[in-house]
């Protein structure tokens, strides 16, 4: 056998599903059929009196203890064996670090590139190292039957290999608060060559630097770039907007300027926008990063 060929996670797991569902279906149909038949055949209208008072049968009890035992042991073993496939990363897998935070993902590559979507080359096994910055999240790729919790302080990982190019869903499966259901992104599977180009492409043009930072720090998990409200207010047209905020419980009206933006990022709970939940974590960004973000927000109209 070709040692570079390995079984993909989907190929490993699906047969287990088939086996388990098949066995369960047979059991369920058998039990239901027996039940319905007995109810019909021995209905009081057909069987006015019981025709048996047998209370037990050792032979039957043994049969229906032993057979299920054998069956479930088979199920267990098969399930365990293929689970090991999920846990055994093929040699030479590409390494990506996924960082989860409330409520966004970012994926860092060996060359330092950071992306909000998980780009991978087709046919190459990818090992994803899972890092959480706050609470427990879940890294879930339904198409590849892969799931692993992203636990703060713990070095969890998952691996998968994509056989075909395309775009696949990536969900946060472990409940993590208000934005949990919005914490979705995609896996973009590219042909080898295209992926290489993507990986090497220069980070961003300068005017895009602010946007890249918003992606990198997960701001866009809670803020949109248009005027829709996700968890926090949308960023479009934020510059110069006047709004009502609560500062230490007292309401006041402000106009968004540089000082305000700076404060909103460094001490988000100092001024809380009216009607929004006080859930934004505080970020410690470098001065030039703040500058870049502010510059970007200024022009976002």
């Amino acid at each position: 056998m070709d040692p570079t060929r390995f079984i993909s996670t989907t190929e490993a797991i699906d047969p287990v599903f088939m086996f388990l569902f098949g066995a369960c279906l047979v059991l369920l149909l058998g039990i239901t059929a027996a039940m319905l038949f007995f109810v019909w055949r021995y209905h009081r209208s057909r069987a006015p009196q019981p025709t048996s008072q047998v209370e037990s049968s050792l032979r039957l009890e043994i049969i229906w203890t032993v057979l299920p035992t054998v069956l479930v042991l088979a199920m267990f073993w098969y399930g365990w064996k293929e689970y090991l496939v999920l846990r055994t990363v093929p040699k030479g897998a590409m390494q990506v670090t996924a960082t989860a935070r409330m409520w966004s993902w970012s994926f860092a590559y060996a060359n330092g590139k950071v992306s909000p979507k998980l780009y991978v080359p087709v046919g190459t096994p990818v090992k994803v190292n899972l890092v959480s910055q706050d609470v427990i999240h879940g890294f879930f790729l339904p198409a590849f039957r892969v799931k692993r919790d992203v636990v703060p302080g713990m070095a969890n990982y998952a691996w998968f290999v994509a056989p075909k190019p395309g775009s696949y869903d990536l969900f946060c499966s472990s409940y993590c608060g208000t934005g949990h259901s919005g914490m979705t992104t995609t896996v973009e599977v590219l042909p080898e060559a295209e992926f290489a180009i993507w990986l090497d492409s220069e980070a961003k043009k300068t005017e895009e630097a602010g946007k890249a930072l918003l992606e990198k720090y997960g701001c866009l998990g809670c803020h949109s770039l248009d005027d829709t409200t996700k968890v926090g207010p949308g960023f479009k047209g934020i510059w110069g907007r006047s709004e009502t905020v609560a500062s230490n419980g007292t309401e006041r009206t402000i106009t968004v300027d540089e000082t305000y933006l700076r404060r909103s990022i460094l001490e988000p709970n100092a001024d809380v926008v009216k009607g929004a939940p006080p859930v934004m974590p505080s970020f410690t960004l470098k001065e030039d990063e703040i500058k870049a973000i502010v510059d970007y927000l200024k022009v976002l109209k």
Binding site: I13, V16, F17, L20, C24, L27, L28, I31, T32, M35, F38, V39, Y42, A47, P50, T51, S52, V54, E55, S57, L60, E61, W64, T65, P68, T69, V72, M75, F76, Y78, G79, W80, K81, E82, Y83, R87, D134, V135, I136, F140, P142, A143, R145, V146, K147, D149, V151, P152, G153, M154, N156, C172, S173, Y175, G177, T178, H180, S181, V231, P278
Partner: protein, 542 residues
């Protein structure tokens, strides 16, 4: 109407009229196990209706993608409260508190439980805990939004009112422990003359096993909740990775209780089914000893499998191996029960009255739920379906298709005994049919959704899940229509329906040998048991 209602009240004999207190005080200060049973019945039932309402709201929100009727924060609070109410306020105390109290002492031929005042006290602290849980919705930082599992670190840092909810659950746990030890003592000490262990009715057996789980597992939940509260209020950091704690340890402690707790929920239901099926088949239960054994085996082995909730958490693979293996072992005693129930039907004389219909649908729905549990128990497949709607489907099948339907069976089977009046048969069947249809439409669809990858606790979802979610929502409406028909019929019957007396179903357990409704002391003459609980000939039933 008012006059006739008064009439029925006056004519209702037995423990209803025999009291020296009047009005509400004759209930909330009564130490009679039957009155406490009804107190529990109505309080758990009330909370159940709250839970159902929340469930319906959840389904309406999920009817279409995006915001339908509420925002994400509200949705998160709603499923949390739905879960907490259903689990801690309804399904755990429900069966034991209501039918356990109503029936168990009579089934073993006792006049009351061992500690009647403690029994009343249990109800009181249950109510106090419940009120605290409900208070947490309207005070502090808003309703808790952690999910019923209270996972750290999220529960330690969210600004919502988790501490108060946790306190309420803690108090309810205490009530659960007290009921458990009361029942164990009662069943050990107060069985009537002649009732050896192998003559104990299966419902009582199941309560006995349940009570042990309550005694041994609930304290772990209690301490876990205390630690979460301490984490929030004192910053102990025992589960906080920043301070050296381990969030996975919380999950261990939580599931050490909460997995056995699912057997607290299902065992009494299995007990009722084991009592009802033989009665309506006019045949002794098949394999009494094996059912007793499997009850105890479930209780024992159920304490060994908690790790199957944590397969993807980052727990060691060795633990995955062990817990997956043991999970499959627990399935065996459940299988034994199912096979024995079905065989009891063989060559019987089956009458499909309401309790029996609910009992038979229990077998089917519980089997579907249990078999989907096997998919969850296998490590490879659980990884895919963990934290998806497949799990949601699984536990609604076992908890509601299982315990819920058994509860309905018990309501139709036993309540007339205590009220002396009965419901009409036809509407009961209509209600049953609608519920059965709606139930499968909703929860089977949810399992399919889970297989397709829709995560649970999702307020919003991708368009590809839209159709199935709509189907599930429609299912929930059919279900609730059936529920309403069933309940209206049942309660109208209990108050104004045909009289119910004697032993119309033909049961051989002791509760059918007392007057209807039973007198305060349960028996006119202290019973002496001379035959098994399913020996119809021995008890002179044709």
């Amino acid at each position: 109407m008012a006059a006739s209602e008064l009439d029925t009240r006056v004519r209702r004999g037995g423990f209803w009229s025999d009291t020296n207190r009047t009005g509400i005080a004759s209930w909330i200060f009564s130490t009679d196990h039957k009155r406490i049973g009804l107190l529990y019945f109505y309080s758990t039932f009330g909370f159940f209706l709250v839970g159902v309402l929340l469930g319906l709201l959840l389904r309406i929100e999920l009817m279409a993608p995006g915001r339908t009727i509420m925002g994400p924060q509200t949705y998160n609070a709603l499923f949390t409260v739905h879960g907490v109410v259903m689990i801690f306020l309804f399904i755990i105390p429900g069966f034991q508190g209501s039918f356990g109290n109503l029936v168990m002492p009579i089934q073993i031929g006792a006049r009351d439980v061992s500690f009647p005042r403690l029994n009343l006290f249990s109800w009181w602290i249950y109510m106090i805990g419940a009120v605290i849980v409900l208070t947490s919705l309207f005070t502090g930082g808003g309703p808790p939004d952690t999910g019923w599992t209270f996972y750290v670190p999220f529960s330690a840092r969210t600004g919502t009112n988790v501490s108060l909810a946790v306190l309420g659950v803690f108090i309810i746990g205490f009530s659960s422990i007290l009921t458990g030890l009361n029942f164990v003592t009662t069943i050990h000490r107060l069985r009537a003359a002649g009732m050896g262990w192998m003559r104990v009715p299966l419902f009582t057996w199941s309560l006995y096993a349940t009570a042990w789980i309550q005694i041994l597992a609930t304290p772990i939940l209690a301490i876990t909740l205390v630690l979460v509260a301490a984490e929030r209020m004192l910053g102990t950091g025992l589960f906080d990775p920043v301070q050296g704690g381990d969030p996975i340890m919380f999950q261990h402690l939580f599931w050490i209780y909460s997995h056995p707790a699912v057997y607290i929920m299902i065992l009494p239901a299995m007990g009722v089914i084991s009592d009802i099926i033989p009665v309506f088949s006019r045949k002794p239960i098949f394999g009494y000893k094996m059912i007793v054994f499997s009850t105890l085996a479930i209780a024992a082995a159920g304490s060994l499998v908690w790790g199957h909730h944590m397969f993807t958490s980052g727990m060691s693979d060795t633990a995955v191996l062990v817990f997956s293996f043991l999970t499959f072992i627990v399935a065996i005693p459940s299988a034994i029960k199912v096979f024995n129930w079905v065989t009891t039907l063989y060559k019987g004389s089956i009458s499909l009255e309401a309790p029996m219909l609910f009992a038979l649908s229990f077998i089917l729905l519980f089997s579907i739920g249990g078999l989907s549990g096997l998919i969850l128990g296998a490590a490879a497949t659980d990884v895919h379906v963990h934290d998806t709607h497949f799990v949601v489907g699984h536990f609604h099948y076992v908890m509601f298709g299982g315990t819920g339907f058994a509860f309905f069976a018990a309501m139709h089977y036993w309540l007339p005994k205590f009220y002396g009046r009965r419901y009409a048969e036809k509407p009961a069947l209509v209600g049953w049919a609608l519920m059965f249809t709606g139930f499968n439409l909703m929860y089977f669809t949810m399992q399919v959704l889970g297989m397709k990858g829709m995560p649970r606790r999702y307020y919003d979802y991708l368009p590809e899940f839209a159709t199935l979610n709509l189907v599930a929502t429609v299912g929930s409406w059919i279900l609730v229509t059936g529920l309403i028909i069933m309940l209206v019929n049942l309660f109208r019957g209990l108050w104004w329906g045909e009289p119910f007396a004697g032993n119309p179903w033909g049961g051989a357990t002791l509760e059918w040998s007392t007057p209807t409704p039973p007198p305060t002391e349960n028996f006119v003459e202290e019973p002496v048991v001379t035959h098994g609980p399913y020996d119809y000939k021995g008890s002179g039933i044709p």
